[in-house]
């Protein structure tokens, strides 16, 4: 009888016993024959926490399967045997206080059996103290910005990370690469065996930063900074996704984290710090029209094209056209201003946070002189920089 079986389980109550039972079911069933397990189940990941989460998942899953097998087994038995067509006469019982108590109380013990390990895992996950490295993760429509926080602002490495897959692949004009929609231009780089704390926030709408292999998923919410952390044990490339609907390109802002050995990480960081310094210097020099146009085209393709389109025509009314109208052929200062500061109440972002002054100067110049706009004027990076500094 089910009642007794369940009661025995509830009494023995030890998770180890249950885990054995689950393992037995898993091995005994047909799942083990299925070749590609990873296409069917949660990843075990590469952190202690992610493995705890996986074990917890398998534990609850096993309990659920067990309950399902018992309940559906009884139903199916009943359907096969207690049929009118077999001449089975209906019984007349319609109540049993004992049974009602049993199937109210036994589930409570099963639930406690699940809640205990869940609580302990959650406490571990929430303890984000004693971080070795702090990285700010900031969501944008539709890319991520990573900032390696440093007490000295000159040493602060900050970069955008956006989708590398070209549109030709999603519009089926080119064969799809192995990491279709899962590769980015600048991955986040972290050292292994260090406690890395992620400080997650957003610049516009709500995003959510999820790396399954770390069991880290936290919403990036404007006006809030939330913490999460990971100690990655194996070097490798770990891929994640945005998991909160954030508009048009929600599906096109993947996350790539590269975990490397400590010395490789240090080399990389030194290189990035040098790059930051170089940018500072380029902003100071005087650029030619050709240089600005060339850089501008690249910047436009990376940052502007998803909304304003490759031909500058946009998708009105949300994303206005830049060709032969408005800002792009109007007042130069206003044009620089909207790129630097964005436009409140629209999807136009303040790009001062994402692009360096040289890039802003280049893209503004490009927009004024591409697609037959031919305004003919240009703006120097140092002028853009002056504007940003004045604002700060």
């Amino acid at each position: 009888m089910t009642g007794t079986e369940k009661r025995d389980q509830g009494r023995s109550g030890y998770l180890i016993g249950l885990k054995w039972l689950i393992a037995a079911i898993a091995v005994g069933s047909s799942w083990s024959v299925l070749a590609d397990w990873s296409a069917l189940n949660m990843t075990q990941g590469v952190t202690e926490i992610s493995r705890e989460v996986y074990d917890l998942h398998m534990l609850i899953f096993g309990i659920c399967v067990l309950i399902g097998v018992i309940v559906f087994g009884i139903m199916i038995w009943s359907m096969l045997v207690h049929r009118k067509s077999l001449g089975h006469e209906p019984a007349t019982f319609s109540h049993s206080t004992k049974l009602e108590y049993a199937w109210t109380i036994i589930p409570i013990f099963i639930l406690i059996g699940m809640a205990v390990p869940a609580t302990s895992t959650l406490r571990d996950m929430y303890d984000s103290s004693n971080a070795d490295i702090d990285i700010e993760v900031r969501g944008y429509q539709w890319k991520w910005q990573y900032t390696y926080l440093n007490d000295d602002p000159a040493q602060e490495v900050k970069f955008m990370s956006s989708l590398l897959t070209p549109p030709d692949e999603f519009y089926n004009r080119a064969p799809k690469r192995e990491h279709y929609l899962s590769d980015v231009d600048n991955p986040l780089v972290i050292p292994i065996n260090k406690r890395v704390r992620f400080l997650i926030t957003s610049n516009d709408v709500i995003h959510s930063w999820w790396v399954p292999d770390f069991a880290v998923k936290k919403d990036a919410i404007p006006g809030f900074v939330h913490e999460s952390w990971a100690v990655v044990e194996e070097p490798g490339i770990y891929r994640g996704k945005c998991t909160e609907l954030c508009g048009k390109d929600h599906g096109f802002m993947p996350i790539v984290v590269k975990a490397v050995e400590q010395d490789e990480y240090e080399n990389w960081l030194a290189m990035k710090q040098q790059e930051a310094k170089d940018v500072y210097e380029t902003v100071g020099k005087t650029w030619s029209m050709a240089e600005l146009m060339e850089t501008g085209e690249t910047v436009y393709a990376q940052h502007c094209q998803t909304c304003h389109q490759a031909n500058g025509q946009g998708i009105p009314p949300a994303f206005p056209s830049l060709v032969g109208q408005g800002m792009a052929i109007g007042d130069l200062d206003a044009h620089v201003d909207i790129v630097v500061n964005g436009k409140a109440g629209s999807a136009m972002q303040a790009f001062a946070a994402q692009l360096n002054p040289a890039e802003i100067a280049a893209v503004v110049t490009y927009e004024r002189n591409a697609w037959g706009n031919d305004v003919g004027d240009l703006v120097q990076p140092r002028e853009v920089n002056a504007l940003i500094v004045a604002k700060e």
Binding site: A39, L40, T43, V53, L56, I60, F61, C64, V71, M75, S78, M79, H82, R83, K84, S85, H88, P90, A91, S94, L99, E100, W103, T104, L111, M114, A115, A118, T121, L122, R123, Y126, E169, F170, Y171, K176, H179, L181, D204, V205, I206, S208, A215, K217, D219, I221, P222, G223, F224, K241, T243, E244, L245, C246, G247, G251, F252, P317, A318, A347
Partner: protein, 532 residues
């Protein structure tokens, strides 16, 4: 049961009007029930077409049919239409038809208001659907419309969406007040609350849930309206507001809302299983208490939809424990249905098939819900296809199967004709296979890491997405067969007896088939008391 004598001569004085105005002006609970059911079926097809657009796009990786902007409009409108246009009005339609007949009342207590609450709906949904043709497109921020995506970053049509939601809310509140008043005042003399059929009980509790939470929904969309047009900053962090506040208010409505869509289903299944098992419902009292407990718990678990928003650990733990508790009364219900079947004398007509599939597949959805309650694991499940699989298991083979079961079960009473049993069973098996092929693989896709609301996906998710899309088309097109079966049954067929099913109990089976335009003009004498 044969003790009840019908007052047939009333019909001669108060038959239905002729033509279109019968339906526009009707205050008859049966007519209004019919209107609700047809309306909800129309919306089911509209929302279903949107689902098929989604599944067709996801058939393989790449952007084949629609652009991401339109894909987001489809996911949003599919959710809104199915929740507010298909499932909820269908249950209101069933309540209209059945509650007065089950409690021996002549009509709903507030017939004129009943007419209004239906006729608001076509306008509400007309307005909502019209946004598809507006500049900037329809709402594209998901049916949960999280701010600030639905405020600062929304298309201009959001204002029409807000007004449409207000109208739906008004309709639901009026409808539920009507149900409460009818049940509390118009029961046949001698029918105690604990004598009521479970469908009436579940609807009474559902109606209270609706009255409690629809104003909360109205409140949250009004706050959005203020943010968008009148310069407030409830949800704008830049203005000192809080985007997470939106989610708390929304889910304070949203969680009871999901039980609004399942409690009446419990009532339907509790009517059908005893009939075809030819055995009384097991544990009637505990069924009532379990329903009430689920309704109560639904108010105190809302933030389990928001485990990743960064609540403090005390909040996460509280919402995890409270959510897990729901498994207890839900389990009681499932065990009671199984115990009702046990040692019965079962036959498997179409309503019974849908009801049994409901119990099994709803339980699968309930078990995955239990998994989702476990916070650390939820961090991996949250906003992936695992969640999509979960809530479709409780809503499609849950709510919608129960509505279909109800339609087959009571159609002979409504039309006076038996539906075509062979076609009905065909419809069942196509739906059953279709639903499982569609939604079961979505568990895998989600666990493997595909987020929901993605118009395109990485290559490792391709196989199961294709399977899921095939299932969706099987399920979608089988509903045309359902339409055909219902029309065929309305047009004619084998005449139904008054009792229709040989094991059926309840006052609705004591009146003629088809049910006369006016029933119980004088209160019926109750059959022997339904106590054990």
């Amino acid at each position: 049961m044969s003790a009840v004598i019908e007052n047939h001569h009333d019909d001669h004085h108060h038959g239905p009007d002729k033509g279109l105005m019968r339906w526009v002006l009707t205050t008859n609970h049966k007519d209004i029930g019919t209107l609700y059911l047809w309306f909800s079926f129309a919306m089911f097809l509209v929302g279903g077409c949107m689902a098929l657009v989604i599944r067709a796009e996801l058939f393989q990786p790449g952007l084949q049919l629609v652009v991401p902007e339109f894909f987001n409009q489809m996911t949003t409108m599919h959710g809104l239409i199915m929740v507010f246009g298909a499932v909820m009005p269908a249950f209101v339609g069933l309540a209209n038809w059945l509650v007065p007949m089950m409690i021996g009342a002549p009509d709903m207590a507030l017939p004129r208001m009943n007419n209004y609450s239906f006729w608001i709906l076509p306008f509400a949904f007309g307005m909502l659907l019209s946004t598809l043709f507006m500049e900037g497109g329809a709402p594209n921020f998901g049916w949960t419309f999280y701010a600030p995506l639905s405020t600062e970053y929304a298309p201009p049509s959001v204002t029409f969406f807000i007004f449409a939601v207000h109208l739906m809310g008004i309709s639901s509140i009026m409808g539920s007040i009507n149900v409460v008043v009818t049940i509390l005042n118009l029961r046949a003399p001698g029918m105690r609350l604990m004598d009521m059929p479970l469908f009436v009980w579940t609807w009474l509790i559902t109606a209270y849930l609706l009255i409690a939470v629809m104003p909360v929904l109205a409140g949250v969309v009004t706050m959005m309206l203020m943010d968008i047009h009148f310069g407030t900053a409830f949800f704008n962090a830049g203005g000192g507001g809080d985007p997470v506040l939106f989610q708390h208010v929304f889910w304070f409505f949203g969680h009871p809302e999901v039980y609004i869509m399942i409690l009446p289903a419990f009532g339907v299944v509790s009517a059908i299983i005893p009939t075809f098992a030819r055995k009384k419902l097991f544990g009637y009292d505990s069924m009532v208490y379990a329903t009430a407990s689920i309704a109560f718990l639904s108010f105190i678990v809302w933030a389990h939809h928001m485990f990743t928003v960064g609540m403090p650990i005390a909040g996460e733990l509280y919402f995890m424990y409270a959510t897990m508790l729901i498994a207890v009364p839900t389990g009681v219900k499932v065990f009671n249905w199984v115990a009702t079947m046990w040692q019965g004398s079962m036959t498997f007509e179409t309503p019974m098939l849908f009801a049994i599939a409901f119990v099994i597949l709803f339980t699968i959805g309930g078990l995955s819900g239990l998994m989702l309650a476990i916070v650390p694991a939820d961090f991996q499940y949250h906003d992936t296809y695992f969640v999509v699989a979960h809530f479709h298991y409780v809503l499609v083979p849950g709510s919608i199967f129960s509505i279909m079961a109800a339609a087959y079960y009571w159609l002979p009473k409504w039309t006076g004709n038996m539906y075509d049993e062979t076609l009905g069973k065909t419809h069942f098996w196509l739906s059953f296979v279709g639903v499982n092929v569609t939604f079961f693989p979505q568990h895998f896709i989600g666990l493997a890491g595909m987020p929901r609301r993605y118009p395109d996906y990485a290559l490792q998710f391709a196989d199961w997405n294709m399977v899921s899309s095939v299932g969706a088309f099987i399920f979608g097109f089988s509903q045309l067969l359902f339409l055909f079966i219902v029309i065929k049954c309305v047009m004619g067929g084998k005449k139904a007896t008054d009792e229709v099913w040989d094991g059926a109990e309840g006052l609705e089976w004591t009146i003629a088939s088809p049910a006369p335009y006016h029933t119980f003009s004088t209160p019926p004498a109750l059959p022997e008391r339904a106590t054990a």
